[in-house]
């Protein structure tokens, strides 16, 4: 693990990073950024790991998740659906 020493250009790049990984960056700045990344290993890693970070979160957010049983019971009770649910089981 190493600490990244910023050059002024790296700092400028950081400000565009989010737009870049969302594909929202203006073509001109995008080209500038890509030229910088091709010669700066640390910045390339920062870009790639930020993209990976967002991907990991997207992936987990799309996975099914169950409601805790007690929370579900109170919800159905509140919605007056519990009688129906029991009848249907």
């Amino acid at each position: 693990m190493s600490e990244h020493v910023h050059t002024p250009q790296c700092s400028k790049l950081l400000g565009s990073l989010s737009d870049y990984i969302d594909g929202d960056l203006q073509a001109e700045i995008c080209a500038e950024l890509e030229a910088h990344i091709s010669g700066c290993d640390n910045c390339r890693i920062v870009v790639n790991t930020m993209r990976k970070t967002v991907e990991l979160y997207e992936q987990t957010s799309n996975e099914p998740v169950e409601l805790p049983q007690a929370v579900r019971e109170r919800l159905l009770l509140k919605l007056d659906l519990d009688a129906l649910r029991k009848k249907g089981q």
Binding site: M1, E3, H4, N48, T49, T60, L67, L76, G88
Partner: protein
């Protein structure tokens, strides 16, 4: 719990069919509760939002126009309910003036350089890592967390997020960038530790 919400008959839902509505609740309530927890970080508050979401949805269904999927519609209701609670409990969370443009203030942020992209998926998304990912979101300052959850976890656009929060798009982008940079740094430190463990074995 595996029923796909978007396969439930919209006509039945709009007609107030309670069996169909129960199916909808079972198919969607897990993720709805999760997003409320992510925004609010409090189980009781999240449960209040969950209940209020379905009460409002049940009332509003007859007028639902189907411009988005039912699932998306429910998520928007839940996000709005959660934001109302945030405004009530911690009004400064949203209105705090952090409009300052991004100007390299992240010099102070830790810039760990660990290339964890190539770690096996099993390592990146095992139970322990998932718990860490969840905790890292909870540890974000509330003003950044709200934006990150809406944009990156709920998949709302910058424009939608900006309208829902009543903040400029630039403000949203700045908060999103700060949130993502922090999470990236947290994950780098965490996975960096894991990589070191592997090397030492």
């Amino acid at each position: 719990m595996t029923e796909n919400a978007n396969l439930i008959s919209l006509d039945s839902l709009k007609a107030g069919d309670r069996e169909a509505f129960t199916q909808l609740v079972d198919a969607t309530s897990g993720p709805i509760y999760r997003v409320a927890m992510q925004i609010l970080g409090d189980e009781q508050d999240a449960e209040d939002v969950l209940q209020e979401t379905y009460i409002k949805a049940f009332r509003a269904l007859p007028a639902f126009e189907g411009r988005s999927s039912v699932t998306t519609w429910l998520h928007r209701i839940a996000v709005n309910e959660a934001l109302m609670l945030v405004r009530k409990r911690r009004p400064q969370t949203i209105s705090i003036d952090d409009n300052s443009p991004f100007n390299g203030d992240l010099e102070s942020e830790s810039m760990d350089i660990v290339d964890f992209c190539c770690m096996p998926e099993g390592e990146l998304l095992n139970k322990e890592s998932r718990d860490f990912l969840d905790q890292a979101v909870q540890d974000l300052p509330a003003n950044l967390r709200v934006v990150f959850v809406m944009r990156d976890l709920e998949g709302m656009s910058i424009q939608e997020t900006s309208e829902a929060l009543g903040l400029s798009e630039n403000n949203i982008k700045t908060r999103l960038l700060r949130a993502r940079l922090r999470l990236r740094a947290e994950l780098s430190a965490y996975f960096g530790g894991k990589l070191q463990e592997v090397e030492q074995r």
